[in-house]
Amino acid sequence: MDRPAGPWRIAGGIVAAAIFALPLLWMLGTSFKPPGEYAAASASLWPRHPTLMHYEAVAGARVGRAVVNSLIVTAGTTLLALLAAYPAAYALARLRFPRRLDLVFLVFVLLVKLTPPIVLAVPLYQVLRVLGLLDTLPGLVLAQQIYALPFAIWMLLGFIRDVPVALEEAARMDGARLPRILWEILVPVTAAGLAATAVLVAIAAWNEFLFAFLFLQSPSNFTLPTFIATRINEDETLWGQLSAIGVLASLPVLALIGVVHRALSRGFAGGTTG
């Protein structure tokens, strides 16, 4: 158990949290401020005359489309990454590899982790074009696998290694084949790990900007981050609407913060920022 904190320490912790929360509170407050208030050089965080006008304006615009696109890309990326990663992670955790191929594989995962996305984006543009997937949501789902897949394999590997082999052996004695063992025994036992992996992959996919920015050209295909990026440059101080969209884009990920906390505390130091 930790030793109890003194009053100065508690005060320090609360002040630090308040400072870090400030920009978020500002965004929330600004999304309810009439334009006169935020353009009037006021340092107050909260609106004097709260209004829903920005949310109404945003609801009428093309934001709905961007939200749907983001949901499709996030769901697709997560599903594809888990479907491909689970059997691979199982193989790496359980089967004996000829000539230490598993080590080669893990080094490769690290290499991907350190490769800047722009490096792969240039040739990938041509790959997607040849496949006819440029400017499509499936194309973006595919591109996002570059980082989602190694991350998912790496995380699932840890969870599958924690499962005692004896569980599978018993089923194998009864004559169950591998697909059934995976689906009926391993997946239920590792459900919590699968969920955590899914959440982290989904957050990264929801927030991803560079590939969406480079590979999606039609505004009707924009995801939320690309949509926000175009709005930033449209009007220097259209902060009310921008904040409203920012709040919409942030609420889902903030709701999942507990999962990120647990994963990082366990040492899954995978990055989600870009």
């Binding site: 320490r9 500002w26 991907v112 350190l114 800047p116």
Partner: protein
């Protein structure tokens, strides 16, 4: 084929196909195109040897982008690890509400970088931004955060500090909790002061965690694109253009794929070198 080998192939096939198509093939393509004058693909492209690299080394755009990237990576990584360590030490005692404080501190880290960029661009606005309004409120002059060519990059690093310090904090916090409390107890009984215990117990045992946090932040800030795009677009002039933006401009605006590939190759090699330096430190047996 033996049954177990066949099984391996089946289980790994989906991942291997995706890796080959999305990572291995593109990397090979970059490697080859870096030595050509390609403006799209291999067709019509000529082998030019090291000419692209020579041109990069001479060009001011690349040198400026490289300098900006390194300067940002150093500012951001050092700032985030130090501040993250301070927060971890601050919260390494039990109190009611500690979990809530931790979750609030973590919030900026899960946001989209574009949203972070949008918030800070507004905060840094010279006339009506939150920071300058607050400064003027206490009688100080406004600061040209993003307009000044010298200040713009540190300003972006400040936004990065807000977003990524929580990551370092949590890694180091987990590290602190792995140190057996008995060690501190024993040292206290031997009369060691707070500073001595920090220097001789906490810091050496925390060192691997500090290296991992530093490595992750170095590699991530080396990729910097989104935040700069949202806040300054690389300006004023090219005062905040990073290597990622430089490559993007060459490839997607000037269609100079040969040069872009050469610059990209330099980025991979440098990132690999950085990772190797950290890895060596991590592997080194404790002195």
């Amino acid at each position: 084929m033996r049954a177990s080998t066949r099984l391996l192939v089946v289980l790994l096939a989906p991942s291997l196909v995706l890796f080959a198509l999305l990572t291995l093939y593109p990397l090979l393509r970059v490697l080859l195109l870096a030595f050509t004058d390609s403006d799209y693909g291999f067709e019509g492209a000529d082998f030019v040897g090291l000419a692209n690299f020579a041109e990069l080394a001479e060009g001011r755009g690349f040198r400026r982008a490289a300098w900006n990237t390194v300067a940002f990576a150093v500012m951001a990584t050092v700032g985030e690890v130090v501040l993250g360590l301070a927060l971890a030490l601050l919260l390494d005692r039990a109190f009611r509400g500690r979990r809530l404080v931790t979750l609030v501190l973590l919030a900026p880290y899960v946001l989209s970088t574009i949203v972070v960029g949008a918030i800070w661009r507004a905060w840094f606005h010279y006339d009506v931004g939150f920071l300058n309004t607050a400064l003027r409120g206490v009688g100080l002059p406004g600061v040209p955060w993003l307009f000044d060519p010298v200040l713009a990059l540190p300003s972006i690093a400040l936004a990065d500090l807000w977003q990524a310090t929580p990551f370092c904090f949590l890694i180091l916090y987990a590290g602190l909790r792995s140190i057996p409390p008995d060690l501190h107890e024993a040292a206290r009984i031997d009369g060691a002061g707070t500073w001595a215990r920090f220097r001789d117990i906490t810091l050496p045992l925390l060192w691997p965690y500090i290296l991992i946090a530093g490595l992750m932040r170095t590699l991530d800030s080396f990729k910097l694109f989104d935040k700069v795009y949202a806040m300054t677009g690389g300006g004023p002039g090219n005062a905040t253009e990073t290597l990622s933006m430089f490559v993007q401009r060459l490839a997607f605006r000037f269609f100079d794929i040969g040069m872009a590939s050469a610059a990209a190759l330099v980025m991979v090699v440098v990132a690999g070198g950085l990772a190797a330096i950290y890895a060596r430190q991590l592997m080194r047996p404790p002195a």
